[in-house]
């Protein structure tokens, strides 16, 4: 086999498109590759692949390239792409589905910073039922290896009473813990 992936007749050439459709309810088959999603995307100039290229990678059934892409980690879920897509593809939803798929397949996320923040955020939520910002920032900085990021703002935040020193624990936090523990990655759709 050459280095280029050889497409064989045994694999379903539409497998990825079908998978995305099943997981998100979004059919990228309608995409006309006009590029409007990318033109309006606020992060597309920082990512390896752009939103319209992500659509095309799905069409090309290229799971491997896609899972390793940084695009959906940068995606801010701002929905600009979705509301302007001329054929009504919910691109932002596909981006989120890709984030979930990377976690589900247990491959390394291309942008660990974002994935780490998500993880730390969920941990805080599990522990307290609400987000404890100080803990969140410290924990995240520690894990992403930028211990002093935003540190300059810390003292001002305290003095302005914007960040509490103690987390607020809600009564139902056990329930929150079990929700997060038991919740499935994807919602089952008919």
């Amino acid at each position: 086999m050459s280095e280029q992936e050889t497409k064989t007749s045994h694999t379903d050439p539409h497998a990825l498109r079908k998978l995305i459709l099943e997981l998100s309810g979004v059919d990228i088959g309608k995409c006309i590759q006009c590029g409007k999603c990318t033109a309006g995307c606020v992060v597309a100039n920082e990512t390896d692949w752009t939103p319209n290229q992500v659509m095309q990678l799905i069409r090309l059934n290229d799971m491997e390239t896609l899972l390793g892409s940084s695009m959906f980690w940068y995606c801010t879920s701002c929905q600009t792409c979705t509301v302007r897509c001329p054929v009504g593809i919910d691109i932002a939803k596909v981006m989120n589905t890709m984030r979930l798929l990377v976690l589900d397949k247990q491959v390394d996320p291309a942008e660990t910073d974002v994935a780490t923040v998500n993880k730390v955020f969920m941990r805080s939520l599990k522990a307290h039922g609400r987000v404890f910002e100080l803990g969140l920032v410290m924990n995240k900085n520690f894990r992403t290896g930028h211990p002093f990021q935003d540190a300059s703002m810390g003292p001002a935040m305290f003095s302005k009473g914007k960040i509490g020193l103690k987390p607020h624990n809600i009564k139902g936090r056990q329930r929150i813990k079990s929700i997060i523990r038991n919740a499935g990655r994807f919602l089952k759709r008919d």
């Binding site: 006009c34 033109a39 752009t50 319209n52």
Partner: protein, 457 residues
Amino acid sequence: MTESSQDPNITLYTYSEVEEVKGYVGNFEVTIRKKARSVDLDTCTGCGDCIQKCPKRVTSEFDMGLGRRKAVYIPYGQAVPNVPVIDKDTCLFYTKGKCRMCEEACGPQAIRLGQEDELITEKVGAIVVATGFDQWDWTKYGEYGGGEIENVITGLHMERMLESTGPTAGHVVRPSDGKEAETVVFIQCAGSRDPERGVSYCSRVCCMYTAKHALMLKEHQPNSQAYVFYIDVRAPGKNYEEFYQKAQRDHGAIYVRGRPSKLFERGDKVVVRGVDTLTGKTLEIEADLVVLATALVPSKGSMELAKKLNIPHDEYGFFSEVHPKLQPVDSVTKGIFLTGACQFPRDIPDTVAMSGAAAAGVCAVFSQDNLTIEPRIAEVDEDRCSSCFNCVDVCPFGAIEIATRGDRKVAHVQKSLCAGCGNCASACRVRAIDVDGFRDHQIYAQIRGAFEWGERP
């Protein structure tokens, strides 16, 4: 136009609209509303003195607001006939009851203030519909400024500006300050290929006219630079691809593949936020002028006209042909032909070719003493007819009349109008109507035949 106005066999009704159409192929009776021009066609010499004197200035529709006209005006230089018309919505006499300056100015006394519309009827044997197109209302695109950014215009504005006798004498300028535009961005598919908010089809002519605009811009203003944002360049036609290549190669138009997402003003520039999908790079271009290639849609009022003519149309209002390949200029109603952009967006060569075909279709009708029609035609069993006239309501071609038989009223099919669609047959509760060739017993025989196939010798 001038030629046809001088042909003895052609009667031209300008500033007129069809009110009602009755009858059928060979025997149409058309009621025409001749709108009050407020100027007498026969007396007017076209000297233009009235226009000179008229104190009321308004924006010119023909120049898309880029220029001005008077309340009494001739829409454009080559207009036929060369006789002015008074715009009742802005004329001081019609709106305020005073002025009459034009009347005073007119030597031959051709002004007819207070003139009323006139209804006339004509008997004709065939009708050719050529009502053309309008531009899609692009101001629905909030992300492109929704019509609020002055230096965002459409291809039609560009046409007017490039015209040497037009409002800017051939200069491409920014409407905001009248300065010559240097960087001009063209955006294709503004509304086309957008089923969510515009139209789903490709408007067919925009790729080529944009290439033309880009090319002419460079010729008129050598210091200018054109950028063309496109999704796909569609140039199928004789010498079309070569023309588009020429615009790129020889006239330096830079083609960027991708539909822009947003237009906004920065200083006196319009920023185009776009992408080049070939490189995957997003980019912003600061333009003096942005020209949108807006989608072509059927002209306003085409749906109403379709009703008057009893011809079907598609979801957008484009009139439907009988068969896209075999009968592209025939409407479903016999004797009514279609041509040009009223049937679907098309360019001038295609429109001219189609018009020739439509004219030939008319000649074919007129050249025969008797008309041959399809045998698939509905027939009423008058004894059975219960006079409910459900069929009259469902017939899309208005082919069913109510006839009197003694003291009874019964449905009667006008054969030359019937298209054999069978709507009436399924609507008739007493089974009094059937379509020849598709009678119940014939259909049953076919079904039976199909199942007996194997047993036959």
